[in-house]
Structure formats: C-alpha cells, structure tokens
C-alpha cells in the first residue's frame, strides 16, 4: 500500500513514536551516522548513507542475559527481556538483514530471546543513497518488500509511506494522517529508484547474484585468501559491524559473594583467533586466511542453502570499517574474475594440480 504523508505527518509520526515507545533512530556521532536512543525529535538525523554499526544490536544485543542462577539453591530461571521498541531509519539492506536473522533464530529450536524482541519491535525504514562501499544493487537488496512495518520514501512535499504490516498501517493512521498518493509522486519515486541504480561506485561483476554460492565453492584455493590473510589484523571489526554476523559466545558471571550469577551470550567473531580453538590447543581455523575464507564463505555460500538467501546484504560495512581496507566487493570481484578465466590448455605431461 502506497500512502502519502506530508512533512508534518512525518514529524507527527516520529514524535508520536518517540513519545509512546523506546525509540532508536539515526543520530550523528562524531560526524558519522549511528543508531542511538532518541528522546527528542530534534535528535533524529535521518541518514542517507549506512550507519557504521548496523542495527542488529537492538534485536541481538552485544551482551544479553539468558539465565539468572542461584548457586546455593541450584536454581536457574530463564531471562527473556524484550521491551516494546521502535527501530527507525533502517535502510533496505538493514531490513533484508533482519529478515535473514529472523530465519536463523527461528530455525530448528526457536530462539526465544531473539524472537520475543523481534515481535516487540516496530521497524520503520527510510530511503538511502549509496556511498562508495554500498553494493546492494548488485546483490538484489536495493529495495525491500517485507520485514518492515512502515517504509518511507522521500518525495516532493513529504514521503510515500509503504505499510508492510497491519501494525504499520494503524501506526500511520494514528500518527501521520496518510492520504492517497498522487500519480506524480509515484512517478517521482520510480525516477528516483532508477537514478539510484546509477549512483553505485562499488558493484559485483555478476548479473545473477544467486550464482555466488557456486562461484565461491570453486574459490577455496584462490590466492586472494592468502593475500588478505597476510594483512588482516584478526580484529573482528567486520564481524561487529555486519548486520548478519550472529555468532556468539556464552559466559557466566558470578556475584562477589559467589552465591548468584548470570549466564550471558556475547557477540563473538569468526575472524578472531580462538573462535574455533578447542581445549588442548587444536585450532580448526588457525590462520587468518582460513578465518577470512570462512567468513566470506558464510556470507556468500555456507548459509545460502539452509536459509534461502545470501548472507551478504551489500551494505559495505565490513569494507568501510576494515583497518587494512579489505574490501568485500573487491575480493568477490577477484574471485569472479578467476571464475571467468578460460581454462588454459595444460602442456602435455604437466598437471595443474
């Protein structure tokens, strides 16, 4: 459904949500776009380019209590805290990422903590403009049709507001006095979407991104892994900022009197050295090249079948944040180039191995 809301309607919507819910939206932090708790409309600074850190932490917190236990009594109770919240100003890639996380945490034994929080979260998406790292147009995530309650597209005089759920429709009615969208505004949105496609500086050299798992499956021996492994710090920043990295560690903390404690899960990262290490010292992905190959394959190949989708949404956050400028679209293009090379005729008596 395509409603139109005026700038005033937008203001009323944001103000209403800020007043009635715990509200997280984009602000400017140290000159960069970031998601933060917002209590006043004036703090809200819609960003056209992606936030440096994704919004995943509001659904899957960096640290989250799962259990409270009483050591003396040998008792434990599960904790699933989930306040009603609004995530405002997410871009298409962010919503795609959340849709993937929904599949992950519903798979097999459903993850109560995530799903409860997800259910209590209202998502309002906004339109964006690519920066030099964005490549969503190459991966099919430039636009989004589901996973949000409301999605706003700026047009002359206001916003086209798409409701993605019944909840979104009622929120629009409640706060934003929506009206029927005029044909001119729809044309403008079409024009803007077409124009956006031309603005990407980063892109993947592949017409059908659904072939990426296959392309990656031929790239285990590609020299790019050693190349980027040689410069990688193994700092885990890429894991931290990625909207679809969901690996975690589980840790216990005990009160000073050793009587009570909590069990929490905290973000972990597959690029960190001890991620796959077991007691006794065996490390199943010992080198940084091994770990980077694992991470890239998780984004483009390993999870694709199980969860019916690529786990890279083209937001470019890992490239943007990498201290040594490892760039996910460039690495993928290197692999794509190798996949397109014609096999060379092997001289008699020699094998390519």
């Amino acid at each position: 459904m395509m409603d139109f809301i005026t700038k005033k309607g937008f203001r009323n919507l944001a103000q209403g949500l800020i007043k009635d819910y715990v509200f997280y939206g984009p602000v400017t932090k140290d000159g960069f776009p970031a998601f933060s708790r917002i209590e006043e409309f004036s703090q809200l600074k819609l960003s056209q380019t992606p936030s440096h850190i994704s919004a995943k932490g509001f659904l899957f917190p960096p640290k989250e209590t799962l259990l409270r236990f009483d050591i003396e009594k040998g008792m434990a109770e599960g904790v699933a805290d989930a306040e009603k919240q609004v995530l405002f100003g997410l871009h298409s890639c962010d919503v795609h990422a959340i849709n993937l996380m929904d599949r992950v945490f519903s798979y097999g034994k459903p993850d109560v903590n995530y799903l409860k929080r997800r259910e209590n979260t209202i998502i309002v998406g906004t339109e964006c403009v690519p920066d030099e790292y964005c490549f969503c147009a190459s991966i099919g995530t430039m636009t989004v049709d589901e996973g949000f309650d409301i999605f706003l597209h700026g047009v002359k005089g206001g916003f086209i507001a798409r409701a993605g759920s019944g909840r979104g429709r009622s929120l629009l009615k409640k706060y934003a006095s929506p009206s029927k969208t005029k044909r001119a505004a729809l044309k403008e949105l079409e024009r803007l979407t077409e124009k956006k496609k031309t603005l990407f500086k980063a892109r993947l050299d592949i017409d059908d991104p659904s072939l990426l798992p296959l392309v990656y499956s031929f790239a285990d021996g590609h020299p790019v892994w050693e190349k980027i492994g040689a410069v990688c710090y193994g700092c885990g920043s890429c894991n931290n900022v990625c909207p679809t990295c969901y690996c975690f560690d589980v840790r216990d903390e005990v009160s000073m009197d050793l009587k009570k404690g909590t069990r929490s899960r905290v973000w972990d990262g597959c690029t960190l050295e001890d991620f796959a290490k077991v007691t006794g010292g065996m490390n199943f992905r010992k080198t940084r090249a091994d770990r980077l190959r694992h991470r890239f394959n998780r984004k483009f190949r390993y999870l694709a079948d199980r969860f019916k989708g690529l786990f890279c949404v083209g937001c470019g956050r890992c490239s943007r944040t990498c201290l040594v400028k490892i760039n996910i679209s460039e690495v993928t293009n290197e692999i794509l180039r190798a996949s397109k090379e014609r096999p060379l005729a092997v001289p008699a008596g020699k094998s390519k191995g």
Partner: protein, 227 residues
C-alpha cells in the same frame, strides 16, 4: 552440554551405554570448567543440557564386524558404543579394539579392557614410544591397523581420537577397502550452544553439534577443514 554455574558449559560425550536412568561421564581435567568438575563431591549438582546431535547408528551396525579405533580420551565415547555392542553381543560379528595412547599411565578403563577381552572383544593397546613399564605394542595406533584382518564388506570402522589422528588412520584404513559409508568418525569442535546457532562448531555448511558429532567418512570426506 555439561556445566557448572559460574564456569560455563562444555560439550561432553556420554561414556555409558545409553539408558534413561543414568549416564557415565568421564571427564579429563583440562580447563577451568573441567577442573571445577573434578572438585565436585558426592551429592554436588552439575548441570546438563541435551543430549544434542547424532550418535552411532547401532541398529544399522548389527550383523557386522566392528573395528573400533580409539586414540587417547577418544576411548571415552567409544566405551558407550562398545558397551552397547557387548550388551547384544550375538547381534555383532567380530569386535576389535585398537587403542593408542601416549604412555602407559594414560590407558583408561584398564579393568574393563580385560573384561571386554573375556566377553569377546579382541583388544590391542599400543603406546607411542617405548616405556620401561610397558611390555605391549609400541608405535602409534596406525601400526595396529596393518596386521588387522578385515572383511571389508561386513565391517564398520569407528574412529575417535584427537584431530591429528584421523587423517593417518583413514589413510591406513585405505588398504583395508572398507567403504566410506561404513567408516564412522566423531568430530571434536568448540561448541557453545549445541543448537546450531553460535557458529563455533561449523565446518562449512555443517553444524557438528546438530548434524554430528558422528559422521560417515563419505559425508565429510570432501569437506575442507573436517579431517
């Protein structure tokens, strides 16, 4: 997953024959949690979650010869399968255990090894290097495989041990011509959740905690990082 509040959890295999009432856990003191578990006394409580994942297909193995190849503490999960086989001894053909440890002091379940022998398991133990108190076989466990007589069409081989052992045991088994789907391995990995979410045990697309830890060689032969 076996745990203690304050120390966390670790994936521990069951070392007794599966039973609804009781399980044996044999745990080596190696890290914080396992050392704390060793300090527990009778009546103390430890926490258990699970069981998770897939074990050995005992029913399918019936009628076959079983060749158990264990290294070090790999005998602990193997004991569960050996005891299952012995409890239905007539359902199985020849039972052979090849068991390698570093030094004599590391031989586990010494009494039981003798008892298993009496009940029809051919037990061969070896230590890595010569030791003054040892009169048995010397050499890594693969040295026991060569002399072993195997009917390749009716044998299931089961391998459990440290990661480094798998490749060499599989190579040695190559000459015995046992099919990949009849060779079973239990893989060790770091695990945090046991539910295919935390990512630590992942080998490519496979979650060892859910789809394993027991795999057929034919399932994982081509999986880089698995063996």
């Amino acid at each position: 997953m076996v745990g203690l509040p304050g120390y966390g959890e670790a994936p521990i295999s069951i070392s007794s024959q599966p039973s609804p009432d009781m399980v044996d856990l044999c745990i080596k003191a190696a890290g914080d949690l396992t050392n704390a578990l060793h300090r527990l006394r009778k009546g103390d409580i430890l926490w258990v979650r699970g069981p998770f994942g897939r074990g050995f297909p005992v029913e399918e193995m019936k009628g076959k010869d079983l060749l158990f190849i264990a290294g070090g503490i790999g005998l602990i999960p193997m004991r569960s399968l050996i005891k299952s086989a012995l409890s239905q001894r007539k359902s199985f053909g020849r039972l052979t255990l090849l068991y390698g440890v570093k030094e004599p002091g590391e031989v586990l379940f010494k009494k039981e090894l003798k008892e298993w022998e009496k009940r029809g398991v051919e037990v061969n133990v070896t230590i890595d290097r010569p030791h003054p108190q040892w009169r048995g076989n010397v050499g890594v466990v693969t040295t026991l495989i060569g002399p072993c007589k195997v009917d390749e069409l009716k044998t299931s081989a089961v391998i459990i041990g440290p990661h480094v052992m798998y490749k060499y045991v599989i190579l040695s088994l190559g000459s015995k011509k046992i099919r990949g789907e009849d060779i079973f391995l239990s893989l060790e990995r770091r695990m945090r959740c046991g539910m295919g979410k935390c990512g630590h045990c992942q080998i490519q697309s496979v979650y060892v905690c859910q789809e394993g830890p027991v795999f057929r060689l034919s399932e994982i032969r081509h999986l880089r990082e698995a063996i």
